[in-house]
Symmetry: none
Subunit: 199 residues, 4 copies
DNA sequence: CATGAATGAGCTTTCATTCAT
DNA sequence: CATGAATGAAAGCTCATTCAT
């Protein structure tokens, strides 16, 4: 009789979140309306609020989900033999997975973080966790002699993540830029940055 | 009777634009309201529409003004002798000039570009112009033997601009990151990237 | 299979009504929501509608129950020897029994009666029944020589009930007023009003 | 040119308040919607918020206005020679001035005071001010020998105001009650309460 | 008997924009 | 040139009620 199925609830929540992501990607975090999300998720406004207590909660949950997804990429990279190649490949793979519009979402999140502390915290927490894992990985490279030991692993990780993120942004700003050429130069940049000084 | 002074008109326009920028930096492109801008610019809503035909026009004009300002920095750099040092110094100076809040504005603009073609065009045009000038500058360095001649000047410019932009984003994501440390590592990154291969 | 026990049904109904009363006292007739009542009564919204066909029905039933309860007090008074003392004691006891919050409920009911004929009828019917019994009691006092025979029993009952109700309202308006002092002066007022003229 | 006319603004505010009062009297403090008030005041919802910052502010302003109006009656009474007669006449006059529906508003205000501190404060402040003036008037009567000096002027004032208010409520609960008869008995009640003990 | 998912109309409030002065 | 009163569409959200299970 009692059909309290938390699995179904959780699944519906995820569906709503994905619908919301499509809307946010299309019209922006502020531009997408609750009723637009409801239409996309095929749900009534009243019912939406059984899953999320506010629009901000939807934005926060979607931001977290997006960030968590990014973590997955790092896992793959950590298992690789060719760190730099995998890092650059990550950019390509990310680009392929979602539509172009979805990339603007990251900027929307950064902008939102400027006047929304809860979003700022999500970005900060994720950024720190990711960087910490990345730095650990760099340290291993330093001990193995493959990476310049004079670099501060944490700051180097931050700068590299920045460069990767920045190139993504550049692609969006100027779609005509050669995808292959950018990747190639980014690989050079990372390689020269990390390579130990020649004796 | 009415002496319409185009100079005065243009000056008032600029004042409004600066007021708008403060509001947009504080509350976001969507978050800042027309009446908020009117209060900041000490102008009535009715009168505001004598200078700009819509909120979108204000956003567009402000975006252009912001981009044009960035060009000025590059001009200064072009006159310098120490390319890498000046480039990094530019980042610092930009950071010093505006409040941290102003940095969010760039991401707001990027986000807006995702669903607003006219903003997208402004960013794209500016990005191309800036990169083109930057690339020219790199080419001069290559001819002077100070910059690795094997790099494609245009793509190298794109990657470097990306890295600089990315570091700005990183500082928003995680404000606790050492500003000096990031600058230092960014300098190393750029230096190693551009330095010609040692013979 | 399903043994429908009308007694159990009736009992559950009363429980719901009491839960509703607590909610209404706390948040007002309009302010309390069905889901709030459901939570308080530990029942699902769907099931609630097996007991009451609408929120208005709950309000009506609760109003009737509250009025019926008030009648009980009068019964006790009718059996007493000291009419005035018992009357004032009644006010005190009522005040003691329920929380202060519950008193607001009466005004919510009166307000509701203004735009809800069915509630208006419940209050009117109860008011008349109560006054009629009270008047009968006063008449007995007049015949026994304890109450001024020149008073019209019905109107005197109305005026006294009004005064008692009014004092309740006054305590809401100004909670700092001395409860004991008000009770004392109300006793004097009633005493002097009812006492037969001295010969 | 500059047409900042605070008089017109204030007048419009009063008009809106009166329109709101009609709506509140008809449908209750919670039942009346902003759009209903807008229709009654012939104003757009957007413009309404230039005069009042929220619905609660409208309710508060209207409550204050209603209370202030009540003060006027006391002034008239204070100038009279026949205190009791004037007091009873006050009830009559109040009744005649507004529609029956308007009387329910007082109950709505009392109910609202139960879960709305700002309304509670307005009622409390007004109640205290009114009682204080009434008590001063009673004290004068005590010194003049017309009023029983053993009564506490403040509490007597409270009880009398309560009785008057209560009779108003009773009239609403049961409209069939004789208006004249109630007034007569209320006069007797007040008279006997205040009259000094016969020597 | 009992659940809680689902609805959709309606609520208060905001805001870009227009217009009479 | 300049004001601010005025608009009305649309936003986020609530809630009484229904229905499939």
């Amino acid at each position: 009789m009692r059909t309290i199925d938390p699995r179904k609830h959780e699944e519906r929540r995820r569906e709503i979140l994905q619908a919301a992501r499509r809307c946010f990607a299309r019209d922006g975090l502020r531009g997408a309306s609750i009723s637009e999300i409801c239409a996309e998720a095929k749900i009534s406004p009243g019912h939406l609020y059984h899953y999320f207590e506010s629009k901000e909660a939807i934005v926060a949950a979607m931001t977290e989900a997006t960030m968590a997804e990014a973590d997955t990429h790092l896992d793959l990279m950590a298992q690789s033999d060719d760190p730099i190649g995998t890092l650059v490949a990550k950019i390509e793979s990310t680009r392929a997975k979602h539509s172009d519009a979805a990339h603007f979402l990251v900027f929307d999140m950064l902008a939102e973080a400027g006047h929304n502390p809860s979003i700022a915290k999500i970005l900060r927490d994720h950024s720190q966790a990711l960087r910490s894992r990345f730095a650990g990985y760099l340290r291993a490279g330093q001990q193995g002699g493959k990476i310049d030991p004079s670099l501060d692993a944490d700051l180097a990780a931050a700068v590299l993540m920045s460069a990767v993120e920045g190139v993504k942004a550049m692609r969006i700003r100027d779609p005509k830029l050669s995808k292959a050429g950018l990747g190639e130069h980014l690989t050079i940049l990372i390689g020269r940055f990390l390579t130990p000084a020649q004796k």
